[in-house]
């Protein structure tokens, strides 16, 4: 089999619903509103997020798989969905006590939580905040190389 002529990745999508408010203590109220607009409204709002996780690795010839989906699903459930789904990102996720829960920061936080998945290499996470906005993070390659 000439199966080493290509690089293969497995992609899996998950969904979670969460609320957030874009606000930073480092800016005045007026500046917060100027920068974040309606996303700064005091009581927050929510989104149906779509999280796309991409993994790479060797296909195990016995199973035909890079990683068993049951293992990946359980890992994502434990490390992300259980804490994020139907929660407030600002109030319920420690990382966003200080950091603004933009979807950029959400990508970085979820990448950090998933990068130790033991059965394959995490290539990237992509998050759709709405059908019109999506964000991707593939780790900090400069950091990885230093």
């Amino acid at each position: 089999m000439k199966n080493n002529a290509s690089h293969i990745e497995l992609g899996r999508r998950y969904r979670f619903a969460a609320s957030h408010r874009l606000h930073t203590a480092q800016l005045s109220e007026a500046e917060n509103y100027r920068v974040f607009g309606k996303c700064n409204n005091p009581y927050g709002h929510g989104h149906n997020y779509v999280l796309e996780v991409s993994l790479s690795g060797k296909i195990d010839p016995a199973t035909g798989m890079i990683a068993n989906l049951a293992d990946l699903d359980a890992f994502v459930e434990r490390h992300v969905l259980a804490e994020f789904d139907h929660h407030s990102l600002n109030e319920d996720v420690a990382a966003f006590r200080e950091k603004v829960p933009t979807t950029e920061n959400l990508c970085i936080e979820i990448f950090r939580r998933l990068q130790n998945f033991p059965h394959a290499k995490l290539e990237r996470v992509r998050i759709q905040e709405t059908g019109n906005n999506s964000f991707e993070y593939a780790g900090n390659t400069e950091e990885n190389h230093s």
Binding site: A5, I8, L10, R13, T63, G64, G139
Partner: protein
């Protein structure tokens, strides 16, 4: 460089089963995908090619030719077929999304000559897909 993507859909059945595993092992590893009489999916295939637009035609490649290659290499082989029994390129392999994507990459790569095959993405369902790139490349770095 410009990327161009063509999408096709096909329907096929399959079953995950490794004859070297015991019945219990097959069930444990493959779950309901091991059910004895198989099951099926509507697969969506996205084929992305890369190239520079031709200065005369403005095209990276002739879409009609790509469409014909996909019809010949993929649709005729896999559409309304049982992937375990009717696709010789998959013989001896578990017909997972990863393996099917790789077989499709190997079928298309030598046939696409006007441009360079960049990515094969095969969706088994809207929430599960496999991406195949040229070895050494990766979606994250391209």
């Amino acid at each position: 460089m410009v990327l161009l993507t063509r999408k096709i859909e096909f329907s096929a059945s399959h079953r995950y089963h490794n004859p070297n595993f015991s019945a219990e092992e097959n069930r444990r590893v493959f779950g309901k995908c091991n059910n004895p009489h198989g099951h099926g999916h509507n697969y969506t295939l996205e084929v992305t090619v890369a190239g520079e637009p031709d200065p005369v035609t403005g095209m990276v490649l002739d879409l009609k030719e790509l469409k014909e290659i996909l019809e010949r290499e993929v649709m005729q082989r896999m559409d309304h077929r049982h992937l375990n029994y009717e696709v010789p390129e998959l013989a001896g392999q578990i017909p997972t999304c990863e393996n099917i994507a790789q077989v499709i990459w190997n079928l298309l790569e030598p046939k696409i000559t006007q441009a360079r095959l960049h990515r094969v993405r095969l969706y088994e369902s809207p929430d599960l897909f496999a991406d195949c790139y040229r070895n050494g490349a990766s979606g994250a770095r391209n």
